[in-house]
């Protein structure tokens, strides 16, 4: 069988910066190839080269027999490409978008009609043809983008992060559609930063910092870790303390919190005796579990970071009475409307002191809006938000002094140096004189920022950028910490380091509110509010949520499966009782 794509010694540089290091690979027809790796790994660059939108700096790439550098015309005719954010014209309707791409692809007459009919039924967009693309939900935009890319009857379909900003139910549907396409013999390349999606692909190209870490079926990678993954369930100790202890053991390669226990990966050829001993000490049971793709990825990269957090060790424990009671943050029927659009609807919960509370949901579900109302950045249309019993409307500055906020994308000033950023934020939080100087020095020391002090945060490695952002938010020692998508676009190693800081802070009594669209990060939370389409659809501990979604066939669902099951259950209820929503 001739490969759909043949890559020989491909390398790509932007100026001096290498985006892809030289590698060989092939992509076969009739298969779903996952292009997996954290942001900045080179996934989009590789896809653009395959779509003949960029030329290789070195080596050759043949797509369907055409050379990407010299025969772009042939590739543009035969390859379907869906860029990030789907490449749709938002001020054109669904039909107008389809018609544009069909004309650009030269479809006409009967062929055109048949293609429209097939794509509309395939994507189930039939009822929405007159709607403007900008008014579609993330999931429907994705389907429309897919339909536009399929207009070419392509032999190769390239999808750049199709699952970003899409709710889990729509994502599920996308998998179904792509599986149908590969069954018909199409080669599909699906790029993703979600490592758990890799397991669903026939074969995976794993990229990290422009290098290929693995090329082959995902099982081939995970198989290497057989017998090295364990779960410690129902410990007597606090699971965060237990995890920190476990990560300090030499034989432990990686560890994360999972439900009421922790999950560990041992280094190669390491006996499990150390784990057994740890479990005995903590009164936990040890279960061997099958390895996951993420375990293998972390192993490839040389293991996760240790469990200690210098910042947390420095931090004084939060005084219990600093909070005036047991509730740190309260949302009471919070609603936010932007014109006709409801961004958050009657969101209601309370966060107890020392708790890690997660707001989970796809992009656009209302997480950030809720968050901004809770820390006083956005005024609610109705409802009430309180931090440490202080009403954000009546005592906004007193309430804000009690919280640290780390915004999406870190919100650091690129034109200020690292030191100036620290100085700026310490000033903003009202620190002065010697106390201010001491805090800044302390942050520099604990986060290891000395060598970067004069540089712009933009040139910092991602992990350091994140440390700096956290340092800025913690400058005034807030008892409550708000983290808005702190780990989006961050590789799994940096993500683990981040969570070890958070775990450390929580052990000191800090209350943490976090939003994330990484479903598996829910595991780090004590309780999770699942948000979908502006509403909280479920609120409980991760294990309890999973238990609700468990079925006979699927006794131990993943967080994502749980989310889908809960959304579907909610929709069934709404159908059974249409008045229920209004009541």
């Amino acid at each position: 069988m001739v490969a759909t794509v043949e890559i020989r010694g491909l390398a790509k540089r932007f100026g001096d910066h290498p985006a892809l290091h030289p590698f060989d690979a092939t992509i076969e027809a009739g298969r779903l190839t996952g292009l997996v790796g954290p942001d900045g790994a080179g996934k989009t660059t590789l896809l653009r080269i395959l779509a003949a939108l960029m030329a290789p700096s070195e080596g050759s790439v043949r797509v369907l027999g055409h050379d990407v550098a010299r025969e772009a015309v042939g590739i543009h005719a035969e390859v379907g490409y869906m860029p990030q954010r789907f490449g749709l014209y938002e001020d054109l309707s669904v039909m107008e978008n389809l018609r544009l791409y069909s004309h650009l692809r030269g479809l006409r007459g009967k062929d055109l009609e048949a293609t429209f009919e097939r794509l509309l039924s395939f994507t189930r967009l039939g009822p929405f043809t007159e709607r403007l693309a900008g008014r579609l939900s993330g999931g429907m935009k994705q389907k429309l983008g897919l339909a536009c890319a399929l207009m070419a009857h392509p032999k190769l379909l390239l999808l750049d992060e199709p699952s970003v900003g899409v709710d889990p139910v729509s994502r599920q549907e996308l998998w179904r559609m792509v599986e149908e396409l590969t069954d018909d013999g199409m080669a599909v390349v699906w790029s993703t930063a979600y490592l758990d999606e890799a397991e669903r692909c026939d074969t995976v190209i794993l990229l990290n910092e422009g290098r290929i870490e693995h090329d082959g079926p995902p099982e081939a990678l995970t198989r290497r870790l057989a017998g090295r993954s364990f779960r410690l369930v129902r410990p007597d100790d606090d699971r965060r303390t237990l995890l920190a202890k476990a990560l300090d053991l030499d034989g432990v390669r990686d560890g994360v919190i999972q439900g009421h226990g922790i999950r560990l990966v041992l280094a190669e050829n390491e006996p499990r005796a150390a784990v057994d001993e740890l479990a005995r000490g903590a009164g936990a049971a040890v279960e061997a579990v099958p390895p996951r793709f993420e375990d293998a990825f972390i192993d490839c990269l040389g293991g996760g970071p240790g469990g200690r957090s210098a910042i947390a060790e420095r931090m004084d424990p939060v005084e219990p009475d600093a909070l005036n009671g047991d509730v740190a943050v309260e949302a009471r029927q919070l609603t936010k409307r932007f014109g006709q659009f409801i961004a958050a609807e009657r969101v209601d919960f309370e966060v107890r002191r020392g708790e890690v509370f997660g707001l989970l949901g796809p992009n656009g579900a209302g997480k950030s809006t809720t968050f901004k109302m809770l820390c006083g950045l956005l005024e609610p249309t109705s409802g009430e938000a309180r931090v440490v019993s202080l009403d954000l409307r009546r005592a906004p500055s007193a309430a804000k002094r009690q919280l640290g906020y780390m915004a999406q994308k870190f919100s650091l000033y690129g034109l200020l140096s690292v030191r100036q950023n620290l100085e700026f934020y310490s000033g903003v939080y009202g620190l002065t004189g010697g106390r201010r100087r001491r805090r800044i020095e302390e942050m520099i020391e604990t986060f290891g920022l000395e060598r970067y002090l004069g540089e712009s945060p933009e040139t910092l490695p991602l992990g350091y950028k994140q440390r700096l952002a956290l340092a800025c938010a913690l400058m005034h020692r807030p008892p409550v910490l708000f983290l808005d998508e702190p780990t989006s676009g961050v590789d799994p190693i940096t993500r683990r380091e981040f969570w070890s800081h958070i775990n450390g802070l929580v052990r000191k009594g800090v209350t943490v509110l976090v939003t994330t669209h990484f479903m598996e990060e829910a595991e780090y939370c004590d309780r999770v509010a699942l948000m979908n389409r502006a509403r909280v659809i479920a609120l409980d501990s991760p294990d309890a949520l999973k238990a609700r979604a468990a079925t006979a066939e699927r006794p131990d669902p993943t967080m994502e499966e749980t989310f889908i099951a809960l959304i579907e259950a909610g929709e069934r209820r709404a159908e059974a009782d249409p008045a229920g929503r209004a009541a």
């Binding site: 653009r48 779509a51 003949a52 939108l53 960029m54 030329a55 772009a72 015309v73 543009h76 005719a77 390859v79 379907g80 490409y81 869906m82 860029p83 990030q84 954010r85 789907f86 490449g87 749709l88 014209y89 938002e90 001020d91 054109l92 107008e96 018609r99 544009l100 791409y101 004309h103 650009l104 692809r105 030269g106 006409r108 536009c148 070419a152």
Partner: protein
């Protein structure tokens, strides 16, 4: 190039123009506001300037001269006896200027010498000040001349002037600045549509990732660029028609030339304007930067260096040389010709050719800079 693909792109762009309130705003609302501003608010004409006339002398001749000032439509005269009465008013900007007819006016006149008349102007508005100074001197000089003539006619040795000066202004007999500001502002409007709007919508395609999607289809770069240009060319021509109609009907600016010539001129100007917009967006794939560059390289030169507000002849040589690169310069000249003089092809032709030449330059650079590739 396939016509079908081009038509699909043109259709898409036109739909976007119609649906995007900001393009309607830039193409129709903004021009209308601009035209109204230039027709009514901005005026380089001086009329009814508040002028104080200090009559320190009470003679008949002095009063005659004062009456002369009151008689013109340019001045609104406040007569006083003492200069101290008006000084405060000048400081308070209630008066723009003061004319002092001194005590010895009659005496000197009788002695046969020419008496001095003092003109004090408020220099904080230099244009008005120099106009008033010039005009006031003119009033005084004319008065002397006519007086001399009258005396001579009465006197025994009367020779009298046989030639009387009758000034007449060509092309703009009323000397109304509106008559050249309104046509000139069409150039500003067209720069806005051609350069600013085009640069913005191209940059928007880059920002939203739709350019990437277009590039991955079989459509060629020429089709993609033409698909952008044609609708904005049409929009520009529509805007010219609209501005022209407004000028003629609402602002009473006569169009001496033909509509055909006006449209041909606009079409020629749109070539460099669109070319510049495309070039900007090829270099800056970001709406914010594109807007900045378009304003600085298109809009401001069209305002300052086109001869629209400031005469090119009075610029320093280096700047004057620079204006030859500004397409709006040729357009403004052409517009003023078509409106004020008529279809003077000897004048319009070279201007149109110059615009096309600058446009060709822009397109040549754009063609070199634009490939169907995301590599920069």
């Amino acid at each position: 190039m396939k016509l079908r693909r081009l038509l699909a792109l043109v259709r898409k762009e036109s739909l976007q123009i119609v649906r995007d309130p900001s393009s309607i705003l830039i193409a129709f609302v903004l021009p209308t506001i601009l035209l109204f501003l230039f027709a009514y608010a901005v005026s380089l004409d001086v009329q009814d300037v508040r002028l104080g006339v200090v009559l320190e002398n009470d003679g008949a001749a002095a009063r005659e001269l004062a009456a002369e000032f009151a008689a013109t439509r340019y001045f609104d005269v406040l007569p006083v006896r003492d200069r101290r009465e008006v000084e405060g008013l000048v400081v308070a900007q209630k008066l723009r200027a003061v004319v002092v007819i001194p005590q010895d006016f009659d005496r000197r006149l009788a002695a046969g010498s020419r008496p001095a008349v003092q003109v004090l102007t408020d220099g904080s508005q230099p244009n008005t000040a120099s106009f008033i100074a010039g005009y006031a001197e003119g009033v005084v000089a004319t008065w002397f001349e006519s007086r001399k003539r009258e005396r001579a006619a009465i006197g025994p040795t009367a020779t009298g002037p046989t030639v009387a000066l009758q000034p007449r202004f060509w092309f703009n007999p009323e000397v109304e600045s509106r008559r050249f500001l309104v046509p000139g502002s069409i150039a500003i409007v067209m720069t806005t549509i051609g350069t600013l709007l085009t640069a913005l919508v191209m940059a928007r395609e880059w920002e939203r990732g739709t350019m990437e999607a277009l590039f991955s289809t079989p459509s060629s770069i020429l089709e993609i660029l033409l698909g952008k240009l044609l609708p904005y060319f049409g929009l520009g021509m529509l805007a010219t028609l609209g501005c022209g109609l407004l000028a003629v009907t609402v602002f009473d600016v006569p169009l001496r030339g033909s509509w055909g010539a006006l449209l041909a001129l606009s079409a020629a100007f749109l070539v460099p304007a669109l070319g510049q917009g495309l070039l900007i967006s090829a270099l800056a794939r970001n709406q914010f930067i594109a807007a900045q560059v378009a304003v600085f390289s298109g809009f401001l030169p069209a305002f300052l260096l086109s001869g629209f507000l400031f005469e090119i002849e009075s610029m320093p040589p280096l700047i004057r040389a620079l204006t030859y690169l500004i397409p709006a310069r040729y357009f403004v000249t052409g517009l003023q010709t078509v409106f004020a003089a008529g279809d003077v092809w000897a004048q319009l032709g070279p201007n149109m050719l110059a615009m096309l030449a600058v446009g060709a330059g822009f397109f040549a650079i754009t063609a070199r800079k634009t490939r169907k590739s995301l590599d920069r």
